[in-house]
């Protein structure tokens, strides 16, 4: 299980289309927005899927950047250094 708390920052012009894309994905829960900053929680089966969602978020037209606020992986997930 992987759960990430992220902030998606959007271009002014892209807010509506980005939010529509986020709402269409059942793995993503949206929190109350703060201007162009949209808090989201991603819940997936594991880090690999979490990575894929993260990459997809960054590729959505209108997304300026994605910030991490909190990430949880279950124990046993080891990490290869950069």
């Amino acid at each position: 299980m992987a759960i990430s708390g992220l902030v998606v920052t959007m271009d002014d012009a892209g807010v509506a289309s980005v939010l529509a894309a986020l709402r269409a994905d059942p793995r993503i829960t949206l929190g109350p927005p703060a201007g162009v900053r949209q808090p989201v929680v991603i819940e997936t089966a594991g880090p690999a899927e979490d990575d894929a969602v993260w990459a997809w978020l960054r590729s959505i037209p209108g997304v300026r950047f994605v910030d991490v606020a909190y990430v949880h992986f279950d124990q046993g997930e080891e990490h290869d250094h950069g």
Binding site: R37, V71, H81
Partner: protein
């Protein structure tokens, strides 16, 4: 707790964090805590920056399993940044160093601790004068005490310097030049009370997010706080600023002089404060290297400032003249409180001492000093740059307690406290960092007289400027020997001849000193992995090996071992033997030996036990008639500082001029040593990002942080990117006179450079931006300038990986 409950709890925590980060955008927040029976919680300061947040560390079955912000801590009041929440995981990267490694036939191979310690000792014996040590603002206070005494008291060598030379030594020389003593007069409480906060080249929102939240959160409570952001690029801090003043790199001295000029010209300075508490000073042209300078009158000061009219400052800096007037008008007001904050932007500067002095000078001239909310305050990047380096004195010219090796009285004091034979401490300052590495990387027959360098708790192979010259040139020098004590393989261990595996953070006892003079303490909570051992023990063990080999310097005046510690019954404990190291609290022993030094310049420290029961205390900590210990928040102010004479109001009792006055300096603006030209038309600025701490050797092992910011990038303006024909994610090459590096572009990201400037963070060991940076340094602080050098940008015609 059921699986569903747990999942919902984690989702709730994740959402809380994201909402807090999005709403406040200060990147500091508090989270609910998943508690479980069997988890033991204990306090510790965070391992990362100089803010000094306290965390509670949850331990179960000998492993750190949880982190929470400490509600009892004044510094952070339960808040943490994203690095702080993940700090526990720095212990568990899978490539921890767990055994000593010696380079044999080109390869690092495991050896025993006995062989490792003997190897270090034999390198000392080769020629003690050519043996040097390079420490760290991440050293704990006792580790610094051990290194300092080993080198200066044992080897009679001052070739001990530390990485704070690279991050805050200009702040030190600024404080010393102005007040005669180091470290800020104010504290974080100023941020709770100021009306105006000025960021002098300081991206506090990302670098010190928890402290920054103390300002921004006041706005959410309906308070008015004006934030003025001086910068050479827009950052996350700019998002919160009422005024963003973009200035040309290196022009900050002109701006500061422009403000001072208007205060004087408009007769708007605080005449009473100046008359009672200030003298004026300038550099002596006959002795330009003398930090003391020479006196000047107020009229001479005013005349020197006269050329810094708002229009002239605009011409130099690009900041509109009206904005210079606005700043001067703010400082002229007596009904508001102003706090200035700075960090690397002012310190990593070839004129670092000068700009530090000028900002102090504006506060003194305008009387914005010594009242809660009125303070010039530098911030530090490392958790104990203040405690271990500035206070313990682990720089090549210092002794503990703000004393100097070059001063005979100071040496005698130190020899007394350390119980050394008279004359043991060498009066000649050692090599500062840049010179130390230059000497180490220069062949012996060409004047490179440092043959062995022992690096503890830092990563100079990544953090030094001009790496090809100052670090990589070591490669192939057969008679040079690099020893590295660290927790992970780094850019530095790549060239190491001997690697010593170290315990990290809560795997050992420790003490830190943060940016606001707060001394902090923690106890060991878990065991280090494999054979990793405390850095402090490593130093003592080498000293003992030298003692056993008959090295005279490792004996005190009574011919006892230099590091003789006794148990409560008075019996010596063989702490050099790892099996006995924790028989006593070595940290407490070192700290109590060090404490008497702290009183020499009114930096009094309380007994160790006081720190064990508190979340830190700010010095001077003075015992009260009832036996309790009272910390000091505002130094030099009668209402709070016990060393100020009754009736004085403000008293600079360490005054350079011995008359209880501070110095207001005139320092002219001058062009930089290197700037853009036809061949290298861009400014390169380097720095940090929120997710990674310094060279990333710890944070890049935390999966969450690594994934959030996996690689370095170059931030470039959209205009320059269009001119070069590159888009976000495409690669460009940066080329300076010292090196070349290819990186992906990031356009319109977190920061925003103006045309003609690029920015690169230095956390990524696979993209070493410091191969390009300049090793030119401030003549007084010897701190290099990482913020300004000239590069050209070339488009790379490949299909590179995007961010």
């Amino acid at each position: 707790m059921t699986t569903v409950d747990r999942r919902e709890f984690i989702k709730s925590a994740a959402m809380s964090a994201a909402v807090a980060a999005a709403a406040g955008s200060t990147r500091a927040f508090a989270l609910p805590v998943l508690t479980a029976p069997g988890v033991q919680w204990n306090k510790a300061p965070c391992r990362f920056c100089g803010t000094g947040c306290h965390v509670l560390v949850g331990v179960e079955d000998g492993r750190v399993v949880g982190i929470q912000g400490d509600l009892k801590a004044d510094v952070n009041k339960g808040l943490l940044c994203v690095k702080g929440y993940h700090v526990g995981q720095i212990l568990y990267g899978k490539d921890r160093l767990t055994t000593p490694l010696l380079r044999k036939d080109g390869r690092l191979v495991p050896i025993s601790w006995e062989e490792a310690i003997d190897t270090v000792a034999r390198r000392v014996l080769k020629d003690p004068k050519g043996f040097a040590m390079y420490g760290s603002g991440q050293w704990t206070i006792p580790e610094g005490c051990a290194g300092n005494k080993f080198m200066k008291g044992g080897l009679s060598s001052n070739h001990l310097d530390g990485n704070p030379r690279l991050c805050m030594s200009s702040a030190v020389t600024g404080f010393l030049s102005t007040y005669g003593v180091d470290e800020p007069a104010g504290v974080y409480d100023d941020l709770d009370q100021c009306d105006v906060a000025i960021m002098w080249g300081n991206n506090m929102a990302e670098m010190h997010p928890v402290v920054f939240s103390r300002i921004v959160d006041r706005r959410s409570r309906g308070e008015k706080v004006t934030i003025i952001d001086f910068g050479t690029r827009r950052t996350r801090t700019t998002d919160h600023a009422d005024e963003f003043l973009l200035f040309k790199p290196n022009s900050d001295l002109a701006i500061a002089n422009g403000i001072a000029h208007l205060l004087v010209q408009n007769n708007a300075y605080d005449k009473d404060f100046v008359a009672r508490h200030c003298n004026f000073r300038q550099l002596d042209p006959e002795k330009p290297d003398a930090m003391q300078g020479k006196p000047m009158t107020f009229d001479e000061y005013a005349a020197a400032l006269a050329e810094y009219t708002p229009e002239r400052v605009e011409q130099i800096s690009g900041v509109p003249a009206d904005k210079i007037r606005l700043l001067a008008a703010l400082f002229a007001r007596r009904d508001i409180r102003i706090t200035s904050l700075w960090c690397m932007g002012m310190n990593q500067h070839t004129r670092g001492t000068a700009i530090n002095c000028l900002v102090h000078g504006i506060h003194l001239l305008s009387g914005h000093f010594g009242k809660p909310g009125d303070a010039p305050t530098s911030l530090t990047g490392q958790p104990s740059a203040c405690g271990t380096v500035r206070e313990v004195g682990t720089l090549c010219h210092l002794l503990p307690g703000g004393r100097l090796v070059a001063n005979e009285d100071h040496r005698k004091h130190a020899e007394g406290f350390w119980n050394l034979p008279e004359g043991r401490i060498n009066p000649k300052p050692g090599y500062h960092t840049v010179l130390l590495f230059e000497k180490f990387c220069t062949p012996t027959d060409k004047g490179g007289d440092i043959h062995t360098l022992w690096v503890q708790v830092t990563n100079p192979g990544q953090s030094l400027p001009n790496l090809h010259k100052l670090f990589k040139a070591k490669k192939g020098l057969e008679d040079k020997f690099l020893i590295v004590s660290d927790v992970y393989p780094t850019a530095t261990t790549e060239l190491a001849d001997l690697v010593l595996p170290s315990a990290l953070w809560v795997e050992k006892n420790g003490m830190y000193g943060n940016s606001e003079r707060r001394t902090q303490q923690w106890f060991k909570m878990v065991d280090p992995p494999g054979q990793a051992r405390d850095d402090c023990w490593q130093t003592i063990a080498v000293a003992r090996r030298l003692f056993d080999l008959g090295f005279e310097g490792m004996k005190n005046k009574d011919a006892e071992f230099l590091f003789t510690f006794k148990d409560k019954g008075g019996k010596p404990v063989p702490v050099w033997d790892w099996n006995h190291y924790y028989d006593i609290n070595v940290d407490e022993a070192f700290f109590e030996e060090y404490r008497p030094f702290s009183k020499l310049k009114q930096k009094d420290l309380a007994p160790y036990a006081e720190y064990a029961r508190t979340r830190g205390l700010r010095w001077p900590v003075v015992q009260q008639p009832d036996g309790s210990w009272r910390e000091t928040r505002w130094r030099f102010s009668e209402f709070d500082d016990p060393y100020v004479k009754k009736g004085a109001g403000t008293q600079f009792y360490n005054s350079v001029t011995k008359d209880d006055k501070a110095l207001v300096w005139f320092r002219p603006w001058e062009p930089p040593p290197e700037g853009p030209d036809a061949d290298y038309p861009y400014w390169l600025c380097t720095g940090r990002v929120l997710e990674h701490w310094h060279t990333g050797s710890m944070t890049r092992r935390v999966p969450q942080l690594h994934r959030a910011m996996p690689a370095a990038y170059v931030e470039i303006s959209s205009t320059d990117a269009a001119r070069l024909g590159v888009r976000s994610g495409e690669r460009v090459a940066l080329v300076s006179r010292r090196g070349r590096l290819e990186l992906p572009c990031w356009i319109g990201g977190r920061g925003d450079c103006p045309e003609g400037t690029v920015f690169v963070p230095f956390f990524d060991e696979s993209l070493l931006i410091n191969e390009l940076t300049l090793d030119a340094h401030d003549p007084f602080s010897k701190q290099p300038d990482y913020k300004k050098c000239a590069v050209r940008v070339e488009r790379v015609v490949t299909t590179g990986a995007a961010r």
